[in-house]
């Protein structure tokens, strides 16, 4: 399986050298364990798709199910969420090139996306499909264990923060009802 090259919504041809992608992947902490073996990163990169997004396009839509995880190589994205009434508000602005990734939740199950991601500038992403990730893990368990552990840490950190939020909301609700 060679490196797939996909042109997203834009017309610009994504002519990327494998070396360039490998160099970018080296900077990602998540893939630290893959670097130990020179073949590790190369094997991993074969499961990735290069996709370009023009300014203003929606990379992930809140509420959509499934999809993949995105490594932001270049450009800038805006993470947006919706209130119950349907008003959008910005959560974060992420600039590429620094090992930024998002949408990792899609690797572990078919759950609805928790936020929208919109291209604030023209973006180039490496997309890892949920199914492809599973295939990678089964093919190369010796490398994938490290990646999965690191991803588990990311998810666990988020879960802890969510737990704190939950406690805070719970207290607020109780004190509100007490009056």
């Amino acid at each position: 399986m060679g490196l797939k090259e996909v042109v997203g919504h834009s017309e610009s041809k994504a002519k990327m050298h494998n070396d360039e992608i490998l160099k970018y992947l080296e900077g990602i902490v998540l893939l630290e364990e893959l670097k130990a073996d020179s073949k590790g990163l190369r094997a991993f990169s074969e499961f990735l798709t290069v996709t370009d997004f023009p300014v203003g396009s929606e990379i992930i839509r809140e509420g959509d199910v499934g999809g993949g995880m995105y490594f932001l190589m270049s450009g800038r994205v805006l993470v947006m969420k919706k209130t119950i009434q349907g008003d959008f508000y910005p959560v974060a602005k992420l600039a590429g090139g620094t090992g930024i990734f998002f949408g990792e939740g899609a690797l572990f199950g078919q759950e609805a996306r928790s936020a929208s991601v919109i291209a604030d500038e023209a973006c180039r992403c490496l997309v890892l499909d949920g199914g492809d990730f599973e295939r990678f893990c089964r093919l190369y368990p010796q490398w994938s264990v490290g990646v999965i552990l690191r991803l588990a840490k990311v998810v666990a950190t988020r879960l802890r923060a969510l737990n704190q939020d939950y406690v805070m909301l719970y207290q607020a609700l109780v004190s509100e009802i007490r009056g």
Partner: protein, 384 residues
Amino acid sequence: MLIIVAALTAVWLFSSLAAYYFEVGDANSNIKTVGDGLWWGVVTFLTVGYGDRFPVTASGRMVGVFLMMSGVAATGILTARISAWFLEEAILARRRNVDERLKGHFIICGWRDDMKDLLEHMVGKDTGNGAEKVVIVANVGRDEIDAIREDKRFEKINFVGGDFFRVDVLQQAFPDKASRVLILADRARSQTGVSPSAEEADARTIMAATALGKLAKTAFVTAEIIDPNLSSYLRMAGVTDIIYSRQYSRLLLGTAASGTGLANVLNDLLDPKSGTALQTLDIPEALHNKTYSEICKTLDPSGRTLFVGLIEHSGNTHTIRDRALREAQKTSNVKKLIDNLQSVKQIRCNSPMFNPLPDYIVPSGTVLITIRVDHSVTRTEGAA
């Protein structure tokens, strides 16, 4: 209606052709063609009777008698039908008080003996309220309203007769689509000749305000109350714009103690004819969340306008809370979300703030209070 027309046409056709049939053979006859017969039929049936054509045979005359009699009957029925239709329209037009298509209107609940003078302040080009956008809900006779409608300016005023504090009466004024409501402290003599006490009037105002809290969620409600101690009930009902008419006159009298002519100042500020008026000014969106001094300087670079202060959270309570609630949720930080939501609870609508510090950040949903001075009015007075 269609059946009647068909029957009449049948009678006319049948009679005309019968007359032609009997007449055409007679030597003295003047109905010689089918056309002659039809023409004679119409002229006879409609009881016109020109006499240019007439039957001469006995059978033809018999047909003529039949046609004349049915003609008289038919004309009577038709006349009755048409006049009944006109009458029905007229009755409906009189009964139809408020056009159901009305929206963004101004509802005045209650009655005052000086209603017409009051309307002069509120209806007209200056205030942007056309008379057709005003609905009066009051328990007064139709003649009182007709007296007001005699004035050309108030011709199109809408009226709902009945007690304004009753939900079924209020609903006839379409409060859900109104933009403003004024509840008067109604102490006018009712149709039975009893004028309510101050307590009764206030109780009615509070009842109406409570009902309108549910019925007129988007309207800005102003209420007049006689006893200031009862104003907390109005606040509970969501009314934030309260007029304490009795207290005002007492306070005004109180200024006499200072002996400085303050009464004149207050009068000029309130009387629209004086050329000086307290008014509110909307802040353009570009200036939201800017400092007070920056807003004043941008709106009036010459510095001639007299800025008195501002009213935060100005407008309808429901709308303000709704907007604040939506704004409050726009964060992913739960701690901040809770703080925001709690601050929504604390919002006090329509509370004025006088002369804020120049670096005060003015939040959105605020209006400025200014004193408009019409220099042309004061100057002409000075010249005279």
